[in-house]
Amino acid sequence: MAEGHLISIGLLAAMVVSAACALAVKDLLTAAALFGAFSFLTATWFALLGAVDVAFTEACVGGALTTILFVSTAFRTSRRFD
């Protein structure tokens, strides 16, 4: 996989856009879901780079655990960012 490929550029651009959206939205549940999407895109990018172990970890941790922890914090505090 060479660097200039459309798929790598597209993935990286989608990562930046989803991260920016996760930081921009006002609702914590939406932000957590977008952060999960960002993590899965990152995991795909790691798999493309041949880092299968890192991709596996990022998919488990970022896609599932971090999102779950943020959502349970949303239930404990407030769903809206004040």
């Binding site: 930046v16 996760a22 930081l23 914590l28 505090t77």
Partner: protein
């Protein structure tokens, strides 16, 4: 080079979010984005043209040029798991702050602390 530029963009996004967003939970999300940017950078450094995943298949003696660099992969694997534990610790702190001060907004927190 474009990969490094994208990693720099993610890092800048994360650190700008940490500095400029007023809500502590969003600051934590921004910190996570920043961590992922660093991990993306390290994993990009481990990539070699024409190499495969660092798992030995059948065949003769492995040559260094045939496999990706496993060292950054190892470091980043542990870094990801450590980052989720520290995120959990930070979320615990935020739950306590919220229950004590009824807000997670930085400015209102500073007003209440004054």
């Amino acid at each position: 080079m474009t990969t490094y530029a994208f990693a720099a963009a993610l890092f800048t996004l994360g650190i700008a979010g940490m500095a400029l967003l007023p809500n502590l939970l969003r600051k934590l999300l921004a910190m996570n984005v920043m961590q992922v940017a660093v991990i993306v950078f390290f994993v990009s450094l481990a990539f070699k043209d024409g190499a495969t995943v660092p798992i030995l298949g059948q065949g003769g003696a492995p040559q260094a040029a045939e496999f990706m660099n496993p060292l950054p992969h190892t470091l980043m694997l542990t870094a990801i798991v450590v980052s989720v534990s520290t995120t959990g610790l930070a979320l615990g702190l935020l739950v306590r702050i919220r229950s004590r001060f009824e807000t997670l907004n930085e400015r209102r927190l500073l007003d209440k602390l004054r």
